[in-house]
């Protein structure tokens, strides 16, 4: 058993046992959610220069069993185990399995379908990539608030802090380029977003959203002094080729998203979405992404 496997198992198991121990049956309920998604990203490498841009598609599976504990008439707590598997078809180094836990506290400010609500959540996941240098922990903490304005419209605003810390124990060649460190996969960022759902009817919903990602991103390039100058961390990135480097940089990304959702049953939906990402970084670096996805999702 590797060190990475030893890290994840006891933490997740203990947390889940704690869930079962503290949740009286009458006040809590088991939940289950998941999805199977296909995604296409036309700039998987987050590259600026055309020669470095790589597109790719992937299959993503997610499963999340959990407990919901309704503490009061207005406040509930949901605890989930989050399991994920991604298979990237073009760049197998990006394939991964991930597991973690999340907790959401939900509060409604009154009784009724149109009262405002608020949610606070934290999560931690271990990501095990086929390309080991990307292995690491992801942490998120965020709050959101929303309201249903009518039978048709509801809007949610959110803030989330995201941090990723790669596993430094992975044995990769240390590389210092121009005196810059190699922890290119360690990132911190803030995500602000607003999303609106328009209910056409009970089965069909339309979704639109805008988000701003502020903080560090990891992109890919061939050797480029201009890009190296702008980076605060660089490391070889064999996922996209032996001559590629992953570099970390501060960027400001605008994300526009649109989606459509169709309920097949009371618990299962089919969803399709499109996302356009426009990133601007220091030293004039910029890149865009177009991401298409379709998924089947369920919740019980």
């Amino acid at each position: 058993m590797s060190m990475t496997e030893r890290r994840t198992e006891p933490v997740g198991l203990c947390f889940f046992l704690l869930l079962i121990a503290i949740a009286p049956p009458a006040r809590s309920e088991w939940l289950m959610g998941g999805e199977a998604a296909y995604k296409y990203n036309d700039n998987l490498s987050l590259a600026q220069q055309g020669r470095d841009i790589e597109s790719g598609n992937s299959l993503n599976l997610r499963f999340s069993p959990g407990y919901h504990f309704q503490a009061t008439n207005y406040t509930g707590l949901t605890l989930n185990a989050d399991l994920q598997a991604d298979r990237n078809f073009g760049f197998t180094g990006l394939s991964q399995a991930a597991g973690g836990v999340s907790m959401d506290l939900f509060h409604k400010f009154g009784i009724g379908r149109e009262v405002p609500w608020m949610r606070a959540g934290i999560s931690t996941d271990w990501h095990d990539y086929a390309n080991n240098q990307r292995d690491g922990w992801q942490f998120t903490a965020g709050i959101s608030a929303g309201k249903r304005f009518s039978d048709h419209w509801q809007t949610t605003i959110s803030y989330q802090f995201e941090a990723y810390r790669a596993d430094k124990s992975v044995d990769i060649p240390a590389l210092y380029i121009l005196g810059i460190e190699g922890d290119a996969f360690d990132t911190d960022a803030h995500l602000l977003s607003i999303n609106t759902v328009y209910t056409v009817n009970y089965r069909l919903s339309l979704i639109a959203g805008f988000a701003k990602h502020l903080g560090e991103v990891t992109s890919t390039t061939r050797r480029s002094s201009n890009i190296f100058d702008a980076s605060d961390a660089i490391t070889p990135d064999p996922v996209f080729g032996t001559d590629r480097f992953a570099y970390r940089i501060d960027a400001n990304t605008n994300i526009f998203s649109f989606g459509i959702s169709y309920a097949l049953t009371g618990n299962v939906s089919l969803n399709a979405g499109y996302e356009y990402r426009d990133s601007n970084a220091s030293h004039g670096l910029a890149y865009t992404n177009n991401i298409f996805s379709v998924n089947a999702a369920f919740r019980y």
Partner: protein, 218 residues
Amino acid sequence: MPAGRLLIAAVAILLCAPLSAAQLTVIVTNRDGQPLANSVVTVTNDAGETMDRKPGTEIVDQINKQFVPYVKPVYVGSSVNFPNSDNIRHQVYSFSPAKRFVLPLYKGTPARPVVFDKPGIVVLGCNIHDWMIGYIYVSPTPWFAKTGDDGRAVIANLPPGSYHAKIWHPRMHTREEETARQFNVDKNNNAELTWSLELRPEIRPRRAPVGGGMGGYP
């Protein structure tokens, strides 16, 4: 009394009894001709006559995070129990003018039923599960019924006379008053009325996930 005369009297009663009261059969469809369940028909006597009917105790259950039945007609003054057959708690409420009430989080059956003492429509919700919607139709008249999956309902034991019938459905476009129809029944004629209703799209919070299956609950 000799047995033969008793037999004759019993047969006479059996033959004559149905002839002193009639029934109304109602058929409700949507505009595509499909039978429409959960339509409530109410009948009022044009001469103001009524029937001696005592308000009862009815039940609206919560099963698999849904109100069952979806539409429940009750006579004004009736009590309704809201048992929770799920193994989780619900919080039932209504803000309808005909009856405002809140049952705090509970499991099992609340200690007291809720009395519906004003005619009208009462829309039920659960504050934990926003997709849960139910309706209680509080009828001012003792003659009412709800259509089944076949779109049919029968109101029996109508004394001969002139009546008006109305239809209500949670999603119908027209007002209930605009659906009124006059009909007559007597000992020789039952009545049958049909309605074809145009419905609004069903719009309410969805239980199935929007976008993806993850995230907090509800």
